[in-house]
């Protein structure tokens, strides 16, 4: 077993979006997990993911955990990566007043987004940015 979380964050520090791919069935897990959600395989290899995702739901975060107060208010995206994983994170690039969000964005769901890496407090985090 590898130190999966550490390696994931180390890759992010290097600017790489890496997931674990099941050697048996090919399913890619981003974020990484050691046992395949589809076939239960346990042989995994690191692969770079595309970073493309579709946003299915969004929420406005007005009072985040203390570590993210500087960003608030911000949007949060529930999304599926191109490789088929559920992954949720902050969503950048959505510009609308709250009362406009339904008509301006949500009615056009699913929207395309791309993961970018944001540095915060010395660490690197994957967040989404809407592709327009």
């Amino acid at each position: 077993m590898q130190p999966i979380i550490k390696m994931w964050y180390d890759y992010l520090d290097e600017g790489k979006l890496m997931g674990l791919k099941c050697k048996r069935c090919g399913t890619v897990h981003f974020p990484p997990f050691p046992i395949c959600r589809d076939c239960s395989g346990v042989e995994m290899e690191w692969v770079e993911v595309s970073g493309y995702a579709t946003v299915n739901e969004i929420a406005l975060v007005t009072a985040p955990d203390e570590w993210f107060t500087e960003y608030a208010p911000y949007y949060y995206a529930y999304a599926d990566t191109e490789e088929g994983s559920s992954f949720s994170s902050m969503l950048m690039g959505l510009e609308a007043e709250p009362e406009e969000v339904l008509d301006k964005y949500v009615r056009r769901f699913p929207l395309q987004a791309r993961i970018e890496i944001q540095k915060r407090d010395g660490y690197s985090y994957p967040v989404y940015r809407l592709e327009e």
């Binding site: 929420a59 406005l60 975060v61 985040p64 009362e99």
Partner: protein, 423 residues
């Protein structure tokens, strides 16, 4: 039919404390978690005429004993408070569905034959913390933002959690509006009506924490002609794209208790007239899953076990887990209590209220009865059992329900379904 229990198990006793604030609500003032859980348990024992010595084992649901109560391994602590020394006791955490997880496990223990009478108990104190180094009735207030912060970490993966507090609960409401073409104004009215329906029941429930006045009374006091004008106004402040202050779960302290035994044994004890059978349950867990997938997974397991194929016709009481009030429509449709696109209309017309033709929980829900994290799910089971017995007084639904579904979710990671039937 899905998986079947080895023997039928019924709920015979239920109880829950007044939901409120340990620092100020008179019925529970100066209590600690210990008195809360004892109070609920005694009520459940008295409800079925049993004593602690008749109970073989117990489960404790407490979501965050270490974080909120500075205590771990709480089954051992509570055993003495419950008169259950030296008996098997187990603590479980599935966040806010913990107390139906413990019910599931209590039922399974009885069905397995390893025990006959088992208590599923739960407690949570969310509004104040004991102060380390002092007796535990000496407490400091826990502001709601801090509570949510403590609640939310652990949403995995080594990722620091970006989701934030309940103001982030727009997702399901906006998605529902997109799917069925509701305007922002219509969505706002539906959410306001959901809170209104909850409040109408809450003011009739003496154990509700957040229901001293009707919305009509509040509207009048603030110079509005109608409750809806009041709920659309800044008195009902917006906290996110869709959520307003009166939609939110009111975080409170409370405890609940449910006692189960074999259905055959309930007959021998002459408890069968008021007994309610647990005919199905289902549980699903996952990180960062689509919430609807979690509902469907646990609902499917439970409906299969219960042999229910058409919940729209076969279920006549539905208890949504409305910590986010938008769950009232998305859950009810995922569970098939309503057809797709139907729930919002029923809510808007007041038909999901306690006196409506398609009732939801009658406790006041999480916006009016309050939300005591782990303890709420068990309290909603108790409320459903009371309704099925026809014992809910002024908030009794028109026809005592035959088949009730209690939906619960916890921290977005857990869902649990409980199906009850009254013969």
């Amino acid at each position: 039919m899905g998986k079947q229990l080895a023997r039928s198990v019924s709920i015979v006793g239920v109880g829950y404390t007044p939901f409120g604030f340990l620092q100020s609500t008179s019925a529970i003032k100066d209590f600690t978690e210990r008195e809360l859980i004892s109070m609920a348990y005694i009520e459940a024992l008295q409800d079925c005429g049993l004593e602690a010595k008749d109970v073989d084992a117990f489960y404790i649901a407490q979501y965050m004993p270490e974080t909120l109560s500075h205590a771990n391994s709480v089954a051992g602590i509570y055993a003495d408070w419950l008169g259950m020394r030296m008996k098997p006791g187990f603590q479980m955490d599935g966040a806010c569905c913990s107390s139906t997880l413990t019910l599931r496990n209590a039922v399974e223990m009885v069905a397995s034959g390893s025990a006959n009478v088992v208590a599923s108990l739960s407690v949570e104190a969310t509004t104040s913390n004991p102060i380390p180094g002092k007796p535990s009735h000496i407490r400091e207030a826990l502001p709601t933002p801090e509570l949510w912060e403590k609640t939310m970490y652990g949403s995995d993966h080594g990722y620091v959690y970006w989701g934030g507090v309940p103001t982030s609960f727009d997702g399901c409401a906006l998605e529902y509006a997109r799917k069925y073409g509701l305007s922002m104004e219509q969505l706002d009215d539906v959410l306001n009506m959901a809170a209104y329906n909850n409040r109408r029941a809450g003011v009739l429930n003496p154990k509700a924490a957040n229901a001293e006045k009707t919305f009509e009374e509040e509207a009048k006091e603030n110079g509005f002609t109608t409750f809806m004008d009041y709920l659309r106004s800044d008195f009902n402040m917006k906290l996110s794209v869709t959520s307003r202050i009166k939609h939110m779960a009111a975080t409170v302290d409370g405890a609940s208790a449910v006692i189960v035994m074999p259905t055959e044994m309930a007959k021998r004890y002459n408890l069968d007239k008021r007994a309610v059978e647990v005919i199905g349950f289902g549980t699903a867990t996952a990180t960062a899953a689509n919430q609807n997938d979690l509902y469907l997974a646990s609902a499917r397991e439970a409906y299969d076990m219960a042999g229910i194929t058409n919940p729209r016709k076969e279920v006549d009481y539905f208890s949504p887990h409305d910590c986010l009030i938008g769950r009232q429509f998305v859950q009810a449709e995922a569970y098939g209590y309503f057809d797709e696109g139907e729930a919002w209309k029923y809510i808007l017309e007041g038909r999901t209220a306690y006196d409506g033709d398609r009732p939801y929980h009658t406790s006041g829900g999480r916006s009016s009865m309050g939300h005591a994290w782990a303890a709420s799910a068990g309290a909603e089971v108790a409320e459903a059992v009371s309704q099925m017995r026809g014992e809910c007084g002024k908030r009794q639904v028109k026809m005592p329900p035959k088949t009730a579904v209690i939906a619960n979710e916890g921290a977005g990671l857990n869902t649990n379904t409980t199906i009850l039937r009254k013969q």
